[in-house]
Amino acid sequence: MANTAALTGINGLREIRRSPASHLAAALESGSVPGTVVLKEGPFQTMAGVRVDPASEAASRIASVTGGLPARCGEVAGTEQASVLWLGPSEFLVVAPEEDHDTLGGDLLGSLTAALGDAPGQVVDLSANRTTFELTGPRARAVLEKGCALDLHPRSFTPGTALATEVGNIPVVLLKNGEESFRLFPRASFADFLGRWLLDAMREFASPEVP
């Protein structure tokens, strides 16, 4: 049963909180080029850091909660609702919608903690650690390629792949969730810089292409 009282705000805190790139909201909107490349912040996702030995029994219990654990670098497991990103051989990041947070009526952290039990490992609420930038459009890859050394061509970077890397010298987790759609998870303190860096990289696509 959803906790409707919590959904309306935790003692009013939910009303006054600010996402790390909220001050850029107007700039993100004016800097986006609809139909070419669009950048927006998708704030306040519920994120849980999970560390568990993937060969252990606790890992299979956690996998049954999240809908699987990724086995190697780049893989994304999970369900439509919550994706599980591979960060390391025994380290995973669960990204779920805001409503899945325990204080908002969800049960993500509680169920993960229960699944881990007494086994060695940890389940940590990292919802405030990172924010989310959603970069979409036919030129989204061209924007990222200005500051990311990975091969982002669709032949090697397919939808449903997530890699921890650097974009514009900022450490991010880069998730490709569609043919022309990327999600970047920078740490909160880097959100301002990365948001402005992406806006700068997008600027050329607002002008007519020079042949």
């Binding site: 190697r72 670098c73 050394a149 890699l163 921890a164 890397t165």
Partner: protein, 135 residues
């Protein structure tokens, strides 16, 4: 920019990594038995090898795992990447025998001996090495 092959993540730019110093420096079995000089040597004294050098690296922006790497300090040639705790790979080429094939344009006389076996090439190059090239 080095392109380092992380055992977990594959090839990534050097900027994603952090250097961890010389590998295979064992912690003393009985630190209390060491003299101040021996303790200082364990803490601060490291090899300054010219040639193949075993060192530790951390993929800090990726999988956050440590690994060992055998890198040539002259040519930056990465000869081996192996896990922490594993012994240094045997048969790693000597520094100078690596240097020679890397400089075919500057030293054209050296590529005129393709028939010579590596075992015979190495001593001949070490005799032509400049003073102080080897420890």
């Amino acid at each position: 920019m080095l392109l380092i092959s992380c055992p977990n993540c594959g090839s990534r730019d050097e900027t994603e990594f952090h250097y961890g110093g010389q590998a295979h420096v064992p912690y003393p079995e009985n630190p209390n038995d060491l003299s101040d000089r021996e303790w200082a040597e364990f803490l601060f004294y490291r090899d300054n090898t010219k040639g193949a050098f075993a060192e530790r690296w951390l993929h800090s922006t990726g999988c956050r795992q440590w690994f060992n790497m055998l890198r040539d300090t002259v040519t930056y040639d990465i000869q081996a990447v192996y896990p922490m705790g594993a012994p240094r790979p045997a048969g790693a080429p000597d520094a100078l025998s690596v240097v020679v094939p890397k400089r075919p344009l500057k030293q054209p006389e050296l590529i005129e001996q393709p028939g010579s076996a590596p075992g015979t090439a190495a001593p001949s190059t070490s005799t032509t090495a400049p003073e102080g090239a080897t420890k």
